[in-house]
């Protein structure tokens, strides 16, 4: 095996040094009754070349662009990733390093995370961001747990327009320690209706997503004002498409106490849903109560600027069962990818790109409307929108598939009141020609 450097002679010499006769003797501490009966039954070992063939075949069974034209969003978005990001990520000093516990030889990782934290606060309009978490859904769950710790209240309210799968994750995280999650209904226009929340004092936090699961842009400012009529209740803003904030007002400037969500859009491959990036930012006053790693700026013995993991007394390895979370990693390499992406695209570029994304989706939306599709929700959307096609899209989708077009996420499993409603998405990766092909099929 090419990953093992040991020759028979090495093994012999090393065993001799230890005072043993065989490799089996190394395991003498393990009682006979604990030894595995029989050998492992596994395929392989494959040569590098056999593995390539096998993996090529598996990957070949997947429907991806350019062979397929994909119009799917719903929490995972197709965006171009500059080659620069892909190649720089392969600098193995980054990807083969551990958590930067030894700052003297981890300054590359540490400075990059500090830059990630900074760009994240700027994108979201917040004061502090952590070094990232697993994904958008778990970041939201952690945000709600943080609000519960902060307010000592045991209930949270989450909009039904927060991604349904995120709400499932929230349920998993909050029900284990016995907290309650209440769902907030929505209005006919496709935005959250906070009027059902009678006594805000009951809630540790109110969570809204914008753009929401239907792609609709929420009026966060008005919602924030309403939520802050109670001084303690935290306003949590979730997101699945952070590119939107290249164009839209940020959560921070609209009153969010915590902004959290998925960063996949910003330079991370979709990879069938993971790994993604849990982005998490908050207002300054919550910093010591935040979950996750933080990198801070300091100086070294020579007085030079440097960076370290800091405020570790919040964390599991120091505070153990009283920690702010059990998380003991971040999605470091994904955060690095996002930093590289944001650096490439830049402030000017991000705005142009966000506008282009919006315009593409608007083109598709209008085109579909022109061929008879109904847009049930009136408010402006970003990148994705819900449609209903007379006679249903299910049949059309089958026809589309024959043309290798994959369009629309069926929302009825999550919203039974909307049968035959689909969520469609277009980004900068969808050309006008592809959109026209889709429109034509829906119209025919």
């Amino acid at each position: 095996m090419r990953y093992f450097p040991h020759t028979a002679e090495d093994i012999e010499e090393m065993l001799q040094e230890i005072g043993l006769k065989s490799l089996d003797d190394l395991f003498a501490q393990i009682p006979e009754e604990c030894r595995k009966a029989g050998d492992l039954v596994l395929p392989g070992p494959l040569t590098e070349w056999e593995l390539n063939d096998h993996m090529d075949a598996l990957a070949g069974e997947m429907a991806v662009s350019p062979e397929y034209r994909i119009f799917l969003g719903g929490g995972s978005y197709s965006h171009f990733v500059p080659e620069v990001v892909r190649q720089l990520l392969l600098r193995s000093e980054f990807y083969t390093a551990y958590t930067p516990y030894q700052p003297e030889i981890s300054q590359g990782t540490l400075q990059a995370i500090y830059e990630y934290q900074t760009l994240t606060t700027r994108l979201l309009g917040m004061d502090v961001a952590n070094a990232s978490m697993y994904d958008g859904a778990s970041a939201l769950a952690e945000a709600l747990l943080m609000a519960i710790r902060n307010t000592k209240r045991k209930k949270v309210a989450v909009s039904r327009l927060v991604h349904p799968l995120y709400r499932q994750v929230v349920q998993t995280y909050l029900s284990a320690p016995g907290f309650e999650v209440e769902e907030i209904p929505f209005q006919e226009d496709g935005t959250t209706d906070l009027s059902s929340l009678e006594d805000l004092k009951e809630y540790a936090a109110v969570a809204v997503q914008s753009p929401n699961f239907f792609g609709c842009i929420e009026d966060l400012e008005a919602q924030g004002k309403r939520i802050h009529t109670d001084q303690k209740t935290l306003f949590v803003v979730a997101f699945t498409e952070p590119l939107a904030y290249g164009l839209l007002k940020s959560p921070g400037e609209q009153g969010a106490d915590i902004a959290c969500g998925e960063g996949q859009s910003l330079g991370i491959p979709q990879s069938f849903g993971g790994p993604g990036l849990g982005m998490f930012a908050a207002r300054q006053k919550f910093v010591r109560n935040m979950p996750g790693r933080l990198v801070g700026r300091t100086t070294d013995r020579d007085g030079n600027q440097g960076f370290v993991l800091t405020l570790a007394t919040r964390e599991q390895h120091i505070r153990r069962e009283r920690a702010t979370s059990n998380i003991c990693s971040n999605h470091g390499l994904c955060a690095l990818a996002v930093t590289m992406y944001m650096a490439c695209v830049g402030g000017t570029g991000l705005r142009e790109l966000a506008q282009l994304n919006h315009d593409k989706a608007e083109y598709l939306k209008k085109g579909l409307q022109n061929v008879g599709a109904r847009i049930p929700f009136a408010v402006p959307t970003f990148n994705e929108f819900v449609i209903q096609v007379p006679g249903g899209l299910t049949k059309v989708r089958r026809r589309l598939l024959e043309k290798k077009i994959v369009a629309g996420v069926d929302i009825s499993p999550f919203y039974a009141e909307f049968p035959e409603h689909y969520l469609l998405c277009a980004t900068e990766t969808n050309t006008r020609e592809d959109m026209d092909a889709l429109i034509e099929e829906v119209g025919s």
Partner: protein, 484 residues
């Protein structure tokens, strides 16, 4: 000693991203605009993020320079105990970047995602074979996430029997995250001391196990690098009182093909694919922490689950007893591809990986005995734990020696963990290091021990060769500056 590994060389100073660039530069090829502009209402529109504008080469130089300030497995030996910093095979990166995997949308219909579903299904089977626990979920995103799922399963199991329990036993040689993971599920962690041999004694476990205790969360091999040799008896004690045995499988690299966790009474465990199965640590993630359980506990696994009918794979949520969903989608699939590639590349040689990992650890243990104090002087598994007791009289600490190792070209071992050893130095060489590299490492340690006696100031000042010196961590925590 041969020529020192650690040397100095030209690296570059590099400012923060926003301290460079100019408005109007761009490092991104903006996609062609083939549709009309459709402006949003002014009340929706913000001012846009205050990011620097950089050229492509600016970005390339920036991150290349930063990378040169880092130490990775590809740079040199990284003997971090319990972290299993083994070589991350290059072929795995190729496989994960194949378009079919990397560009796959998670909400593709099952008939259009058979390749990835099959890969995941087969990986579950293989991990089931390796652990002896046949029901596997690949959803947890990291080790601590796997622990959390495992604890949720334990909790759900007791609730299902109608008798919820409130406590969980956690040995002092368990991993540091365990108490926090248990607490997130509402359990009260009860610490259990290990004995003079560094392992759990069945009598002691029996004395703390009761009918309100959900089970035990044991790291095996434990963080002293020792196999919990009484695990079978302990499992019987726990099971007799209706509890479950959870194993933190972070140290599975020691016993692949040697111990079947299912056969020795373990009910639930998690694996760290970024340790045992060679996926890179990425400077702190993403990892992957699959949870494996015995068949009776399968109904509690996270959803969705992958099902196979004939030759067709699909995702199913129809498991009413499931603990629920832990990530929006199905786990860190990009990481799973790498672990799957590793398992196929290794096959039955996985056992040899464990044998050589244990060989390397024992070789280092033997060679360093006397140089450093060995608190538990007995053969170890994949890692060995020393302390700084021999150097105390010279006022040299574990931290000083760890920092000095950098000057010699090695990443330091895990230090000050496990907590049961004062000033712990926890060394895990992994199977990937050659005898020559281990000898160099041992020589460096000897030299450092000598310096501790003769010139302790050298150690107090270390490191001197890396670009950065020791950091003022107190200042960082007192006046946190977390964004620029």
């Amino acid at each position: 000693m041969k020529e020192l590994l650690g040397a100095t060389g030209l690296v570059f100073n590099e400012p923060l991203l926003w301290e460079q660039g100019k408005k109007g530069r761009s490092g991104y090829s903006l996609p062609r605009r083939d549709v009309d502009s459709s402006p949003l209402d002014a009340k929706e529109v913000g001012s846009g993020p205050d990011f620097p504008d950089l050229s492509e080469l600016d970005v390339v130089r920036h991150f290349t320079r930063l990378s040169q300030w880092n130490f990775g497995v590809d740079s040199g030996m990284y003997p971090l105990g319990s972290c299993t910093m083994k070589y991350n095979p290059k072929t795995n990166e190729r496989q994960a970047s194949l378009r079919g995997f990397a560009a796959a949308h998670p909400l593709l219909p099952a008939e259009l995602s058979q390749g990835v579903l099959r890969m995941m299904f087969d990986l579950q089977q293989h991990l089931g074979e390796i652990t002896g626990l046949p029901a596997v979920s690949l959803q947890p995103a990291a080790g601590a996430h796997g622990e959390l799922s495992g604890m949720m399963i334990v909790r759900a199991f007791h609730q299902d029997t109608g008798t919820p329990r409130s406590k969980i036993l956690i040995p002092d040689t368990a991993h540091g995250t365990n108490p926090a993971s248990a607490a997130l599920c509402g359990f009260t962690p009860i610490p259990v001391e290990s004995n003079e041999q560094g392992v759990l004694s069945p009598e002691h476990v029996a004395s703390v196990m009761d009918d309100d205790t959900a089970g035990i969360m044991v790291t095996n091999p434990n963080t002293l690098g020792l196999f919990e040799e009484h695990i079978r008896e302990i499992a019987d004690i726990i099971h007799d009182r209706g509890g479950l045995v959870y194993v933190d499988g972070a140290n599975m690299n020691a016993v692949m093909g040697i111990v079947s966790m299912g056969e020795i009474g373990v009910d639930v465990m998690h694996l760290n694919l970024h340790k045992t199965f060679s996926t890179p640590h990425g400077g702190g993630g993403p990892g992957s922490g699959p949870v494996c359980v015995r068949a009776e506990l399968e109904p509690f696994l996270p959803v969705p689950r992958i099902t196979k009918k004939g030759q067709k794979y699909s995702l199913s949520e129809e498991y009413p007893k499931s603990i629920g969903r832990l990530q929006a989608f199905y786990g860190n699939v990009g990481v799973l591809v790498k672990a799957y590639s590793y398992v196929l590349s290794m096959g039955r040689d996985l056992k040899q990986a464990s044998q050589l990992a244990v060989l390397n650890a024992n070789y280092v243990r033997k060679k360093l005995t006397g140089v450093f104090h060995l608190p538990y002087d007995r053969p170890c598994m994949h890692e060995c734990v020393f302390s700084d007791k021999n150097q105390e009289e010279n006022r040299v600490s574990t931290l000083d020696m760890a920092k000095r190792l950098m000057d010699y070209g090695f990443h330091p071992p895990t230090i000050y963990f496990p907590l049961v050893v004062h000033g712990a130095i926890m060394i895990e060489p992994t199977e990937c290091e050659s005898k020559e590299t281990l000898d160099l490492f041992v020589d460096a340690c000897r030299k450092i021990a000598e310096e501790a006696r003769e010139n302790p100031a050298l150690l107090h000042d270390a490191p001197t060769k890396p670009r950065a010196r020791r950091m003022n961590e107190t200042e960082a925590a007192r006046r946190p500056c977390l964004a620029g």
